[in-house]
Subunit: 459 residues, 2 copies
C-alpha cells in the first residue's frame, strides 16, 4: 500500500508541473503552426490589397464583411454568423486641400485629412491662424479673440514616454475636443498637428466630437512636418490658412459583426476579436487588420490542432470601432439579452508588431491568475503581464458582465503611431514574422484562458 500511496502522492504533487509541461508542448505547437504554416499574412494581404481601407458605411466595409464571412465559412468552424449592427455613415468626399500664406504672400500646400465626423467647409474657407498648444490653452481665450479665426492646436507627442499610447492619450483631447471647444468660441475651423510619433509628411485622421447646440465647424489634421513648418511661420508673423473639405453625413446603414465559433463543452463563452472597419486612409493594416487576422488565426489554429475547448471560443470581427463602436455596443447588448455567459474577452487592436505580453483588466485575483502563467509564457518571449486595458470593442461587455476578465494583447507600441489612421498604414509596413507572433500570442492566451477559467466546472 505504501508504494501506491507514494505513487499517488508523487502524481498529485507533480500535477501542476505536468499541466505546465503539457501547456508548454501545446503552445509550442501553436507557435509552429503560426510561424511555419500561418495564414495571418496572406489573410491580411487579402484584406488590405483586395479590399483596402474600409470605413464604416463604405462599399469596402460591406465587402470586408463578405470577405470575413467567406473566410470563416471556408475554415468550417462549428458556427458562422453575422450580427446586424446599425452604423453611422460619414464620407470624406473629394480630397481635402489646404494652404498657408504668410504676410509676404509666401504660400505652402499642406498635407491634411479631415477629422472623422467633421462637417465640410462649403467651398474654400480662409482665416487667420490662432496658435494654441492644447485645449486648456484654447479655453483661456475670449470669444472675441477666437471669432472668425482658424485655430491651430500643435501639442506634439511626448517622446520621453516609453509606451507611445500614453503620449497618444495625452494628445487625444486636441483631436477629440479641440473642434468642439473652438466651435463654442466662434472659430471658423480647427487644424491640429497629427497625433503621430514620427516627423513625416503623413496626416493622421481620427474622430472629432461635436456638442448638441454648439456650432459644428470643420476639423482637420496636418502632417507633423507641416505642423513644424506652421509653428515656424507663426513665429515670424501672421499666417492665413485656406481649407476646403467636402465631408458629408449620410443616414445610418445596416452592417454586421462577423462571428465564428468553436462550440465548447459548457455554455460559457470566451470572445476574442479585432475590428473589421478602418479609417479611409491607407489600408487599415495595423489598425486593425492585424487584430482581425490574429483572431481568425486563433480559431483556425486551435481547430487545426484538434483542440476540444472547455468553453465556447468565439472570434468576433467587430464593425465600427473607429467612429462609434456600434459593433462592440451591439455585441454586448445582444449577449446580455440572450443571457449568454461571458467569462472572458480578449482583444487585439495595437497593430501587427512584436507581441510582448498581455494587459489584464480584472480583479486582483484575475490579474494574478494570469501572472501565474508568466514563467510558461516567458518561454515564448511573452514576458509582460500587467494590469491594463482590454480594448474598445470588448469594453461594453463590462457593463453586463462586471466579473469577467478582459485581456488586451500587449504589443510593442514603438512604431504604432507612425502608421495609425494615416495613408501609411498599409500592408507593406507589416512584418510577416511579427504578425505571425501576434497570431500565436492570441491563440496562446485564448487556449490558456480556456484551460484556466472555471476549470473545476468543466467536465
Amino acid at each position: 500500500m505504501k508504494k501506491y500511496l507514494l505513487v499517488a502522492l508523487v502524481t498529485f504533487l507533480s500535477m501542476p508541473l505536468l499541466w505546465a509541461q503539457n501547456d508548454s508542448i501545446f503552445i509550442r505547437k501553436i507557435f509552429d503552426e503560426a510561424l511555419e504554416r500561418g495564414h495571418a499574412y496572406e489573410n491580411l494581404r487579402q484584406l488590405c490589397k483586395d479590399i483596402g481601407a474600409r470605413l464604416t458605411g463604405s462599399a469596402e466595409a460591406d465587402m470586408a464583411v463578405r470577405w470575413g464571412e467567406g473566410l470563416l465559412k471556408s475554415y468550417g468552424f462549428d458556427k458562422m454568423y453575422l450580427q446586424e449592427v446599425q452604423v453611422p455613415h460619414w464620407e470624406r468626399g473629394t480630397k481635402e486641400a489646404a494652404w498657408i500664406t504668410d504676410a509676404n504672400g509666401n504660400r505652402a500646400k499642406l498635407d491634411v485629412l479631415a477629422l472623422g465626423g467633421s462637417v465640410g467647409t462649403n467651398g474654400l474657407m480662409e482665416g487667420e491662424v490662432l496658435h494654441v498648444e492644447d485645449v486648456a490653452a484654447l479655453q483661456k481665450f475670449k470669444k472675441q479673440d477666437v471669432e472668425g479665426k482658424v485655430v491651430f492646436i500643435s501639442k506634439p507627442f511626448d517622446q520621453k514616454l516609453l509606451n507611445t499610447f500614453q503620449a497618444y492619450g495625452a494628445c487625444h483631447p486636441i483631436r477629440g475636443e479641440g473642434t468642439k471647444e473652438a466651435g463654442k468660441l466662434g472659430a471658423k475651423a480647427v487644424v491640429i498637428r497629427s497625433l503621430a510619433s514620427s516627423t513625416d509628411d503623413y496626416p493622421h485622421t481620427g474622430s472629432l466630437s461635436y456638442e448638441e447646440g454648439s456650432p459644428r465647424i470643420p476639423g482637420a489634421a496636418m502632417s507633423t512636418k507641416n505642423a513644424d513648418l506652421l509653428v515656424e511661420w507663426l513665429q515670424k508673423g501672421k499666417v492665413t490658412l485656406s481649407l476646403e473639405m467636402d465631408c458629408r453625413h449620410y443616414p445610418d446603414k445596416i452592417s454586421y459583426n462577423v462571428i465564428g465559433e468553436m462550440t465548447g463543452k459548457d455554455e460559457k463563452i470566451i470572445s476574442f476579436g479585432g475590428h473589421l472597419d478602418s479609417w479611409d486612409a491607407g489600408e487599415g493594416a495595423h489598425d486593425d487588420g492585424a487584430g482581425v487576422v490574429h483572431s481568425i488565426e486563433a480559431l483556425r489554429i486551435l481547430k487545426k490542432l484538434g483542440y476540444k475547448p472547455n468553453h465556447t471560443l468565439r472570434a468576433v470581427l467587430f464593425m465600427n470601432e473607429e467612429n462609434g463602436n456600434r459593433g462592440g455596443i451591439t455585441y454586448a447588448k445582444v449577449a446580455s439579452e440572450k443571457k449568454e455567459q461571458h467569462i472572458c474577452a480578449i482583444e487585439s487592436d495595437r497593430g501587427g508588431f512584436l507581441p510582448l505580453g498581455f494587459d489584464i483588466d480584472g480583479s486582483v485575483e484575475q490579474v494574478s491568475m494570469v501572472q501565474d502563467l508568466k514563467e510558461l509564457l516567458s518561454g515564448f518571449e511573452l514576458n509582460r503581464i500587467e494590469p491594463g486595458f482590454g480594448g474598445v470593442d470588448i469594453g461594453p461587455l463590462r457593463e453586463y458582465y462586471p466579473d469577467m476578465v478582459q485581456i488586451g494583447l500587449f504589443i510593442s507600441s514603438q512604431r504604432y503611431f507612425d502608421f495609425h489612421h494615416s495613408p501609411n498604414d498599409v500592408f507593406e509596413n507589416v512584418n510577416k514574422r511579427e504578425l505571425e507572433l501576434g497570431a500565436a500570442a492570441m491563440t496562446t492566451i485564448v487556449y490558456l484562458m480556456d484551460q484556466s477559467l472555471d476549470k473545476s466546472e468543466s467536465p
Copy 2:
C-alpha cells in the same frame, strides 16, 4: 544612542533600495536624453546617406573612419584616437549577372550577389545545376557527379525558431562552407539561397571560405524568391545556370578602429562598441550602423549628464567585422600588449530594432550579478537577461581576459534577417524610436556595469 543606532541601522538596511532608486532616476535621465534630444538617428543618417555602404578597403570605409573621428572629436571626450589595423581588401567589381535556363529554353534573370571573398568567374560561366539541401547532402556526392556543375544549396530558414539568429546559425554552413566543399568535388561554382527570413527579391551576401590547396570557385547568393523559383524549375527537369562575377582581391590596406574615451577614477576599462565597416550592398544601417551610433550615444549621453565614471569608458568603432574581424583581433592584442585592465566589454551588433535586454557571456556569478538588476531594468522594458553571446568584435578579448564579463545587447531579432547583408539594409528601414531605445539600453548597461563592477575598489 539607541536612536542613532536605529538611524544607522535603517540607513544601512535601506542602502540597496536607495542605490536602486538613484539608479532608476539616473537611467530615466538617460532615456529622456536618448528619446527627446538623441543624436542616434541623425548620426545614422549621416553614416548611411552621406557615406553609404563601407566595405573594408573601400573609399567609403576610409571616409567612415574620418566621420567617426570628426564626430567623436566634436563631442569633446577625454580622449579620441585611431588604432591602426591591417585589413583585407576585396571588391565585388562590376555588378553580377545570372540567369537560369530550362530544357525548353525558358530563361529567368536572377537577383544575385557574389559572396564576400569570392573569386570572379572570368567571363560568363555556365553549368548544369546540381541541387542539394545543405552541405552534409553535398558531401555525400561523388566527384564525378559534381564535376563541372553549378551546385545550388537551398536550405531555407527554420521559421519555427523564435530567435532568428538560431535559424541563421543553422543555415550558416551553406554560405561559410558550401563553396569550399563544392570546390573540392570539382564544381564550377556555388549558388545559395540567401540567408534571409523573408521571401523577397533581395539577395544577401556574406563571407565564404576557401581551403589552402583546394580549388577556389565562385560563390554567390540569390534572393529567396529566386531560390523558390529555381527549386520549382528543378522539379520539372534540367536547368542550366549562367553566372558572371568580376570580384577581385587586392593587397591588404591600412585602416583604423576609431576610439573615444571618458577617463575613469581607476585604470580599469569598460569597452563598448559596434563595427564601422559593413557589406557593400545597402547602407549597413542595421548592420552595424546602429551599433556604431548606439555606442557613440552612450559616451555622449553620459558626458551630457555629467557622469563621472569609476572606470575608463571606451567606445570603440571596430573596423572589418564583416570579412576578417581584424579590428577586433587587433584591439584585443594591443590591449594585452599594453597590459590594459579590461573588466567588461559590451557590443551592439543585432540591428536598430527594439531592445529587449542583454545576453551575458561570463561566469555564473557574473550572470547572476546582471540578473540582479532585472527588476530595475524591467522598469525600462529591458526584461530579458540570460546567459548568451557578447559579440564578434569583443570576442577576441576573451583570450587575454578570461575573467572579464562580455555583454551583447539583446535586440528583437524578428526583422533582422529581412535586411542583413542585403541592398535593403538602408536608413529608411530603421525606426527612430527603436534606434533611440537601443542607444538608451547601451548607455544604461555601460552605466550599470561601471557602477556594479569592482565597486569596492573604486574610491
